[in-house]
């Protein structure tokens, strides 16, 4: 522990020297200014499509206040002329809306229609009593088809929840309507309540408000972490450029202590930041810490890998950028679906959204979000402690050589079989991320090309993951026989399959009620995919070791066979 603190202190001294002197005040002012500004901007979530449409309005038209529309006040004749001139996209003439009939004009009218609808609802609500303004209330019930009749009878027998809470029977569903007016006005996220609930909905109040607001607010917690991460990665790079790492590594101190020591100040800073932001945004600081601590660890875990692979400044910047965008996608994406699918709990930001909505969540949801993050953090720590040596860090080699060296350093030479099994298992999250990136990018291709391309790329990624360890062992002359190679190929296939199914199981246990479950589980018996994985990995390894085919070509052959198998499988299912 003392060693860790010594390293932390050393890191702080380095940092103080960096931002010290006259520059410090300016620096802090600048950073604070940025945070305050960001905070003020996020007070009103940014409008997507600011200023995209030009709208002409007659003097008697209602006032339009929405960032998407730039408003010009015109009399009727000028308005129509400007509309035909394409100077404005749509003209609101009193209670009438005029369009030109081309696409842009109709899009503008479509957006305007939704805006005006909302406005009209607010006007009607203000001008009339509840019974006149909202004459339709719908009680939503969820039945199983099998005993619908019985459920129906039960439904008629029990009063609606709103009735119980209201004193006057005349305003049966009024309480529910008032609640919805309040929800619609507060801009809360749309909610689909539990399927056993009976809830009352009002059609004109179900317009879903902007779902991005709270997600962006929750992202505010992560932002400072990304900002300080540049100091964290630079901490390692400094040691490298100044050759101080040699000294550090020869001291009686473990790589693990060095890493944790260097990480500690930044993690502490980030956690303090989380607590401060929680207090500033009227959230619960302890709950926020519990929610974001795994995410903070996860982000630093990812950034820990960056300086391990770095060769030049530019590389560090771009690998960091890639890490930032993938991490952001991982954290933000699921949260967008909060209230729609349980898969949203993949991201801790969903839990933060719940926190702001004062809704409870259970330990199971928490663990579902936190476990993968903590596991990836642990994995990054493990890999880094193995590769933290001078020879590896100082070497200027192409990135694939660096990766090969890293794999070699991770493998325990006394337990080759176990190492290969675990390696394949641990690479699963990386494989999934790489496939996700490939899938996203392939969406730009025409559909016919897309399916072929994504299957090819996905198969290539998997084949690399399964065979890389064995190829590295072969290169270092640690493979004694073809038989040993085949055994390792089998173990690699087994590890990969175990990881794949394990991940699936974890995901499915959380979303078991959704329809995806059925589709994903319907993958046939396990021995078949195991045999397939084994065969493809063996092809790659045999080609590399026995036939001296260069590794990239061997992988392509294996991937081709793999893609072909997948294609046949899909055809078969159809």
């Amino acid at each position: 522990m003392r060693n860790i603190l010594t390293i932390s202190k050393r890191e702080l001294t380095r940092l103080r020297a960096r931002v010290g002197g006259d520059a410090r005040a300016t620096f802090i002012a600048f950073a604070l200014g940025a945070l305050v500004l960001a905070w003020f901007t996020l007070q009103s979530p940014p409008t997507i499509g600011a200023g995209i449409y030009r709208v002409g309005v007659s003097p008697d038209a209602p006032e339009i206040r929405d960032g998407r529309f730039s408003i010009v006040i015109l009399d009727r004749a000028t308005g129509v002329a400007r509309l035909n001139q394409k100077a404005i996209d749509v003209f609101v003439d009193g209670a009438q809306v005029l369009t030109r009939g081309d696409d842009k004009s109709l899009y503008a009218a479509g957006a305007l229609k939704r805006y005006l609808e909302k406005r009209e609802t607010a006007r009607v609500n203000a001008e009339f009593d509840l019974a006149h303004a909202f004459p339709l209330r719908i009680e939503v019930n969820y039945f199983d088809a099998v005993n619908a009749a019985q459920s129906f009878a039960e439904m008629l027998a029990t009063p609606t929840p709103a009735l119980q809470s209201t004193a006057a029977p005349a305003s049966a569903s009024d309480a529910a309507v008032r609640e919805q007016i309040r929800e619609a006005a507060s801009g809360a996220l749309p909610q689909i309540k539990s399927l056993t609930d009976r809830q009352i909905v009002v059609p004109s109040l179900t317009t879903p408000p902007n779902p991005f607001g709270q997600v962006i607010l929750a992202f505010l917690f992560i932002l400072p972490v990304f900002l300080v991460s540049v100091f964290f990665t630079s901490g390692f790079m400094d040691e490298k450029t100044n050759r101080k790492l040699t000294m550090l590594l020869s001291a009686p101190i473990t790589p693990f202590q060095i890493i944790i020591g260097k990480m500690l100040p930044y993690v502490t800073f980030s956690l303090v930041g989380v607590a401060v932001i929680a207090v500033a945004t009227r959230g619960d600081p302890l709950l926020a810490l519990a929610i974001f601590a795994p995410a903070v660890c996860f982000i630093f875990g990812i950034y820990l890998i960056v300086p391990m692979l770095y060769r030049t400044f530019k590389d560090t910047t771009f690998i960091s950028m890639l890490a930032t965008s993938v991490t952001t996608a991982y954290l933000i994406t699921p949260a967008m679906f909060s209230g729609i699918s349980d898969l949203a709990y993949m991201s801790p930001i969903t839990l933060a959204v719940k926190m702001y909505r004062n809704e409870p969540f259970g330990l199971q949801e928490y663990l579902f979000a936190a476990t993968p993050l903590v596991l990836i953090f642990a994995l990054a720590l493990y890999v880094s402690t193995r590769v933290l040596n001078e020879e590896y860090l100082m070497g200027f080699r192409p990135i694939h050589r660096k990766l090969a060296d890293a794999i070699f350093l991770i493998i325990n030479r006394d337990h080759l079989s176990a190492s290969i099994f675990v390696l394949s298992l641990l690479l699963i999250p990386l494989v999934y991320v790489a496939q996700l990136i490939a899938l996203a990018i392939s969406l730009n291709l025409p559909t016919t090309l897309m399916i072929g391309a994504i299957m090819g790329v996905a198969a290539t990624i998997e084949e690399v993951a399964k065979s890389a360890g064995i190829a590295v062992l072969h290169e270092r002359g640690l493979l004694r026989s073809t038989r040993q190679m085949l055994v390792l190929a089998f173990l690699s296939a087994l590890g990969f399959l175990a990881g794949e199914k394990g991940l699936l199981l974890v995901t499915l246990s959380a979303v078991s009620q959704s329809r995806i479950a059925g589709v994903l589980f319907n993958t046939g018996l396990l021995p078949v995919p195991l045999a397939a994985h084994f065969v493809f990995t063996s092809i790659v390894c045999l080609l590399t070791t026995r036939f001296r085919v260069r590794y990239p070509f061997a992988v392509l052959v294996g991937a081709f066979a793999h893609a072909l198998y997948n294609l046949i499988l899909i055809r078969g299912i159809q």
């Binding site: 730039s70 394409k86 479509g110 129906f152 993938v326 679906f337 990018i441």
Partner: protein
């Protein structure tokens, strides 16, 4: 140190080539392009997918035709049935709730609406949905528009007039997202990347003291800086051209394409000069990148409240806004020129070699 213009030009170009070589050899540019493609594709797939969850009009007619709605009512002429049919839904009318329940059990109908007679009191309808999260929310989404129309007809019967119910228009989710998020992002991201690139390039020379070696060559400091700025600028410009070409290949109509490119070029150039200024002022990568990322955060925050901000300008030019044109692009050109002049005046004093 003075050098002949042609020598200095040649030497400057040698630096430009060295910069390009370094980013292509190190595959940096591949990572940069991958990031942009990933962010653009991922966000569009995600947001368009997500927004369509809230946008009933984006659901195809086919999907609607397969949805069967059972309405229990004593009035078979209820306007609700008409509105549902207008929404391309299959409607069955039942006089007796028991019959409808049986149909629901047989799965002959997907959703059941029990409509009480209209007594000018609030109508308390009951909706019975299947107990499946995804399917139920899909049905709710499709039923929203017909139910809204029914609500408005009930309002009318009660003497409440609602305006703007018959506005013609198309759902604009995709249009809006494409022109106000994707195209601006693709046009501005290269500028962001190039700024980062120039900081790394300059701070690496400053930190490892290789600028001295360059300086001892027949080159002025300004030539070295100009070469580095130019190299990063061309990289940004090439990416913008690539994105515009890809967008055109995807048959996305971009108005004022020349002006869009010109605007993107000036923004990239300004950003590169400001980044170079940061690097030469602070001398090290760590602080420069930190200040640069803060600058980006501030610029994004501030620009979301300014009407003539880069994102809005790209959107307006690309959608062919009548009031936006070359004069607006010229303002950005002016900003760039001012930044450039200040940079070359000030920087020389900052960097003591």
């Amino acid at each position: 140190m003075t050098a002949l213009p042609s020598t200095s030009l040649r030497a400057g170009f040698a630096i430009v080539k060295k910069e390009w070589r370094s980013i292509t050899r190190e595959k940096t540019i591949v990572i940069a392009i991958t990031i942009q493609l990933f962010v653009a594709s991922f966000s569009s797939a995600l947001l368009i997918g997500l927004l369509s969850l809230y946008d009933p009009e984006s659901i195809s007619v086919n999907a609607r035709m397969n949805l069967r709605v059972g309405v229990v009512t004593s009035d078979f002429n209820t306007p609700l049935a008409r509105y549902l049919r207008d929404g391309n839904l299959r409607v069955s009318l039942f006089a007796d709730a028991a019959d409808a329940t049986r149909a629901f059990e047989r799965r002959a109908i997907d959703v059941m609406l029990v409509v009480p007679p209209d007594t000018l009191e609030p109508v308390e309808m009951k909706m019975i949905l299947p107990r499946s999260e995804t399917f139920a929310s899909f049905i709710l989404l499709i039923l929203r528009e017909p139910l809204k129309r029914y609500e408005n007809s009930l309002r009318q019967e009660r003497g409440v007039v609602v305006n703007y119910t018959e506005v013609p228009g198309q759902p604009d989710t995709t249009f809006q997202f494409l022109y106000s998020v994707i195209i601006p992002m693709l046009m501005l991201f290269p500028a962001f990347v190039a700024g980062s690139l120039v900081i790394d390039s300059l701070s690496e020379e400053l930190e490892t003291h290789t600028l001295e070696t360059l300086y001892s060559a027949p080159l002025s400091l300004n030539t070295i800086f100009a070469a580095k700025i130019f190299a990063a600028f061309v990289v940004a410009l090439a990416q913008c051209v690539l994105w515009l070409a890809l967008l055109r290949l995807n048959r996305i109509d971009i108005q004022n394409i020349g002006l869009v490119l010109l605007l993107a070029a000036f923004i990239a150039a300004t950003n590169i000069v400001l980044s170079a200024f940061t690097a030469t002022t602070l001398h090290d990568r760590e602080r420069s990148q930190f200040v640069y990322s803060l600058f980006i955060v501030i610029a994004t925050s501030v620009s979301s409240v300014i009407d003539a901000a880069p994102i809005q300008m790209v959107t307006r030019l690309a959608t062919g806004d009548y009031y936006t044109g070359i004069a607006d692009v010229a303002k950005y050109a002016l900003v760039f020129l001012v930044a450039l002049v200040i940079f070359f005046r000030v920087t020389k004093k900052m960097v003591v070699v």
